[in-house]
């Protein structure tokens, strides 16, 4: 008889279940390793850098001496460059999303646009730096300025903003649009008065998440010419600049332990900024889903 007798079957079944348990434990270990590494990293950074985090650190410029160095220039640079870049990406990205979702027909052109955007989202960020270097710094003559940096960042996060905004617009039920049209409203009226307000919180969440990604970006800005030693505050859009992650990179690259410590302090500031931004995004998301249900 090809099938096992009851006893053999039960033995084998017990073995199969044991294997299942072992596998489950391995899976849990995998997750634990991931989360454990995260915890380890956060602990190490805090341990190394928290004690260096004080008001002096936040308001000083970098210096040859780690005890006197601070991230003020980098913070301002981040604010200007990422803030402006985020704004530009917001305008362009939402505009593109509105066109693709509300206006474009499902023809070859719009499909090419979609695939193109998906591909752009997967391009390594350093390539955007190369692009920014050639087009904004050199070709457009903007030099290694805050403006060139903002534009580079804007292009970098543009695909993310577009995709997130499209999702937000898709989530608006078509009944809202149909209701608007039935009342005789024009396309733009329906979009601007009915659809966008409904999708706005989601769009904003997407932009905030894109900006929080941009804040951590180092490579594209290095390539397009951000400085790594900026002992001054950027004064205007054409000024040279640095950003927080580049400042951190600069300090990590130095051999002295003192610089490693303030690098950790800089990382703490960076992470706290990201936590705050993401919390705002999560809060917005919750508030928005409550609105839908309420």
């Amino acid at each position: 008889m090809q099938y096992l007798e009851k006893e053999k079957y039960q033995q084998r079944l017990a073995q199969r279940q044991r294997r299942g348990k072992i596998f489950e434990i391995m899976c849990i270990i995998s997750i634990t390793i991931g989360i454990g590494m995260l915890a380890l990293l956060l602990w190490y950074v805090a341990d190394q850098g928290l004690h260096k985090l004080d008001w002096q650190f936040l308001t000083s410029f970098p210096s040859r001496f780690p005890e006197r160095a601070g991230i003020f220039g980098a913070l301002l640079g981040t604010l200007y460059v990422i803030g402006t870049g985020g704004l530009i990406a917001f305008v362009l990205g939402v505009g593109t999303a509105i066109y693709l979702q509300e206006y474009a027909n499902d023809n070859r052109l719009s499909r090419i646009l979609q695939v193109n955007i998906a591909n752009l989202a997967g391009v390594p960020s350093i390539v955007y730096g190369i692009l920014g270097l050639e087009i904004f710094v050199r070709f457009a003559g903007l030099g290694r300025s805050v403006l060139a940096g903002s534009l580079t960042i804007a292009l970098l996060i543009l695909p993310i903003v577009i995709i997130a905004s499209q999702e937000a617009l898709k989530a608006v039920p078509s009944s809202i649009r149909e209701g608007g049209f039935a009342l005789g409203a024009s396309k733009w009226q329906v979009v601007s008065i009915l659809v966008i307000p409904q999708a706005f919180a989601s769009i904003l969440t997407g932009v905030i998440l894109a900006v929080s990604r941009a804040i951590g970006e180092t490579a594209p800005l290095i390539v397009m010419g951000a400085l790594t030693f900026v002992p001054f505050a950027p004064d205007g859009f054409m000024s040279p600049f640095t950003v927080l992650p580049i400042q951190i990179f600069n300090w990590v690259s130095r051999p002295q332990h003192g610089f490693h410590e303030i690098a950790a302090a800089g990382i703490v500031v960076l992470l706290i900024t990201l936590i705050l931004l993401n919390s705002v995004a999560i809060y917005l998301r919750h508030k928005f889903s409550k609105n839908l249900e309420g």
Partner: protein
């Protein structure tokens, strides 16, 4: 002429006629209509920026890289095993950078693939809903940490640990970068694979359970194969990300382009080379400057190809359930 071309011609003619006729300007309806069209055109132009970006990336690369290849043969570029453009005796073989890149990327996948896949299976098949809702966002945090922070961790925490294990490990090495990079891409593999598995309909699992299969058998022999196109796509995307990653390797893997397979010595990747040149005082237009684009176009081509393969796999092999 295509139908659309004819229509847009008619359309343009109407608009021009309208603009030229001053009687229209007081007609509110006509003004509103033109307004709508203007909005549409503005939005279209804004959308064109994404296409222009792609065109710009490709043209810039091709233009500058072609300048480079006027001075360096493609043959040398692809086969020479020394990369020394910044030295006086210059060799322009990309292989050291490529092997460095792949050494770190594959090392990272060695970690991210099994851990990511097992995490995905657990979250999709085993974890109760409440557990999943907590663990999934925590794993996503791993993906959100800036890479320069990972670089810091790799150089100052992981590398010393590796060095204490073995004497042959140098301060800058591919292994510390690979380990940390693996943890960074883990959520990507986990999240995308889990999505693919959750898309497998419940009815398939029930059919398998009803035949007397254990949970392990259902997960590994039914669900995972059914989701395989999404899982493989996630692997390829993760490799592509690892290849394009810059700061972890720049901080921790070294600045020594060498054609080696050892994970314990300093190497250089394509991305960290570009950073190195950008940080230096390279005069624009020089051959050293042009290497940025030669390496850049290689990097871009590799990642673009991988991304397109991943999209193709999902399109072609995804199971369509009714």
């Amino acid at each position: 002429m295509t139908k659309e071309a004819k229509e847009s011609d008619k359309f343009m003619a109407l608009i021009l006629e309208g603009i030229l006729d001053p009687r229209n300007y007081s007609n509110k309806r006509w003004r509103a209509g033109i307004f709508e069209q203007i909005i549409k055109v503005i939005l279209l132009l804004v959308s064109a920026i994404s296409i222009i970006t792609t065109v710009a990336i490709v043209s810039v690369m091709i233009f500058e890289a072609s300048l480079f290849f006027q001075n360096v043969s493609i043959f040398e570029f692809l086969t020479e095993t020394r990369w020394t453009p910044l030295y006086s005796s210059k060799h322009f073989g990309i292989l050291p950078l490529v092997t460095g890149t792949f050494l770190v990327a594959f090392g990272a996948m060695f970690i991210a693939l099994p851990l990511g896949l097992m995490s995905a299976i657990y979250l999709s098949e085993y974890a109760p809903d409440k557990v999943r809702q907590v663990i999934k966002p925590v794993l996503e945090v791993l993906a959100g940490i800036p890479t320069v922070v990972y670089g810091y961790f790799a150089l100052l925490f992981i590398s010393p640990i590796l060095q204490s294990i073995s004497d042959s490990v140098k301060v800058f090495n591919a292994a510390s970068a690979a380990i940390v990079m693996g943890i960074m891409i883990l959520p990507m593999v986990s999240s995308l694979s889990e999505d693919a598995m959750r898309a497998v309909p419940r009815s398939l699992r029930e059919g398998a359970y009803a035949l007397g299969a254990t949970k392990l058998e259902v997960s590994l022999k039914i669900v995972t194969p059914a989701a395989i196109s999404g899982i493989v796509a996630s692997f390829i995307l993760a490799i592509s990300r690892a290849i394009g990653e810059t700061m972890i390797v720049t901080v921790a893997a070294g600045q020594n382009p060498t054609f080696t397979f050892s994970p314990f010595v300093p190497i250089q990747t394509m991305t960290s080379y570009i950073v190195q040149v950008s940080l230096g005082d390279t005069p624009t237009g020089s051959i050293e400057f042009q290497t940025i684009f030669a390496v850049g176009i290689t990097l871009f081509t590799i990642t673009l190809t991988l991304n397109m393969i991943s999209q193709y796999i999902v399109r072609r092999f995804r199971n369509v359930y009714d």
